[in-house]
Amino acid sequence: MHKLLNINLCGVEFKNPIIAASGTFGYGLEYSNFIDLNRLGGISVKGISLNEVKGNPMPRIMETSAGMLNAIGLQNVGVEKFVKDKLPLLRRYNTKIIVNFWGKTLDEYIEVAKILDREDVDMLEMNISCPNIKEGGIAFGTDPKMTYDVVYNCKKVMNSKPLVVKLSPNVTNIKIFGKVAEEAGADAISAINTLLGMAININTRRPFLSNVTGGLSGPAIKPVAVRMVYELYKTINIPIIGIGGIMDYRDVVEFYLAGASAVQVGTANFVNPEIPLKIIDDLESYCLKNSIENISDIKGKVITN
């Protein structure tokens, strides 16, 4: 059906390059009453950890100009419950399952990777970039040495599944982290996670988020995301999944031109759960209209001379 949009990412065949972004699509099932999940290229589920995590106190979200802040705190059911309760239901749909995961310590990362590698999932996505938890998370994503260690050690215990490493934009030089992840064995990079931000309620004089700071997502951050994908594309040889502020097919084309091999749609799912499906339709029309045989043909084709 979607020949124009079929892509192969690290050996996995996606019917289209539109993937629901982690944390914005629950365990996928939440959306099954609203849209046909079978039409999505893939779903990256909410970040999974070894044990169940309850997340941060409320309030956890706030809207900002053309964006939103969140500090959910990686609330999730834990890997065991995920595999037992969620995965079988999710597997009924014909879409690729990427499991976003994280740990508080190096050992936790390794342990979760080991478990998930044996399960019926298509890819793992290592989150080393969540700004909303005190331990782990972003520390692994802002120190090149720690990035190397966590990627290398997880990859070592994985036998069958491709490993995507999701980078933090809150760094001076994202190229270094892309390079390090590649050297440590990452099969692909996803970029970007949220920018660290803060908003204060001037009436209560309190931060809008209980966690004080939170992650900024949505159209506001798209220029930063496109820039980072572009920088990564010039630096590394593994595929890049572009993320950040994608609202329509034009944004997807922009990320492709910058160097992305696929994209994830995040905050847009909240704005309207039908957006990813509309993007798929529109992207197909775009390819047809512009005589693009396959969307991959425009990868990295931005003209900068």
Binding site: G26, D248, P273
Partner: protein
């Protein structure tokens, strides 16, 4: 879903009433549910970005049109006021659980400010089911007291209070409610969180079942973002509920108010 805006009427400087045509929506909805609406005519404008949640205030008898009563507080609601009649607007399906609709009971409905919105639909349903309905409707001042004619129609008693005494009894709405509580089999409430907490405590003290409708800030309204958590006692445990899909109606005696109120 999409529907045509039939009316978007200014009630006063603070409140508007919008009527939208959508049979599809009306056939699905029950009292207490809410929906997310795009507060603008254009989907290519990203400020405001997210949809906004509103309770269903009324459904016409033909189940063709539904309405929302809204208070103008920020960007989204300001923009809502500018939506013209005849424009097609985008909104979600009815979301969440709903109030328990009892039959032949004596019930109290306690509403504060804009919290009154979903209680109108509730009162109508309860009257249809032959309940004896007393409505306690409190506001800051006279401009918060809207729709009184309609409320009279769907209640057996309507008690109005305002903090400044500009209409009705001067003081908090919880006072006359507490005075009468022994008359009731069941209590429903929607409004500011402090008021819901008070209504719940009073009800619990008098061993009356109480259902409250909670407003949490919401991004998705789908159960996906985990931005709208409410802490509730279940058995001996405290469990997390998503206000959007597992609420917005909660057993007031079970809510962990200290984690909700701010």
């Amino acid at each position: 879903m999409k529907g045509i805006v039939l009316k978007n009427i200014k009630l006063n400087d603070k409140y508007y009433h919008m009527i939208i045509n959508s049979k599809e929506f009306c056939l699905k909805v029950s009292a207490g549910q809410f929906f997310m609406i795009q507060p603008k005519e254009f989907d290519y404008i990203y400020d405001p970005l997210l949809r906004r949640p509103f309770g269903v205030c009324d459904i016409d008898d033909n189940k063709e049109n539904f309405s929302l009563l809204y208070m103008v507080v920020g960007k989204g609601t300001k923009l809502l006021t500018t939506i013209r009649e005849g424009v097609e607007i985008d909104f979600s399906q009815p979301i969440g659980n709903s109030f328990t609709i009892l039959k032949n009971k004596k019930v109290a409905i306690v509403g504060g400010g804009i919290g009154i919105a979903p209680l109108f639909f509730l009162a109508k349903e309860l009257k249809k089911n032959s309940c004896d309905v007393t409505i306690y409707f409190g506001g800051q001042s006279s401009e918060d007291i809207v729709f009184t004619d309609e409320f009279s129609k769907y209640s057996d008693r309507l008690v109005i209070t305002t903090n400044d005494g500009s209409v009705g009894i001067k003081g908090f709405v919880t006072k006359p409610f507490e005075d009468d509580i022994e008359n009731f089999d069941f209590v429903y409430s929607c409004g500011p969180k402090k008021m819901l907490e008070a209504v719940s405590k009073i009800s619990v003290e008098h061993s009356k079942p109480v259902e409250v409708s909670l407003d949490e800030r919401m991004a998705c309204g789908l159960g996906a973002c985990l931005g709208c958590i409410v802490y509730v006692r279940e058995g001996g445990d405290v469990v997390q509920k998503r206000c959007c899909v597992e609420g917005p109606i909660f057993d007031g005696s079970k809510v962990l108010w200290e984690s909700v109120c701010r």
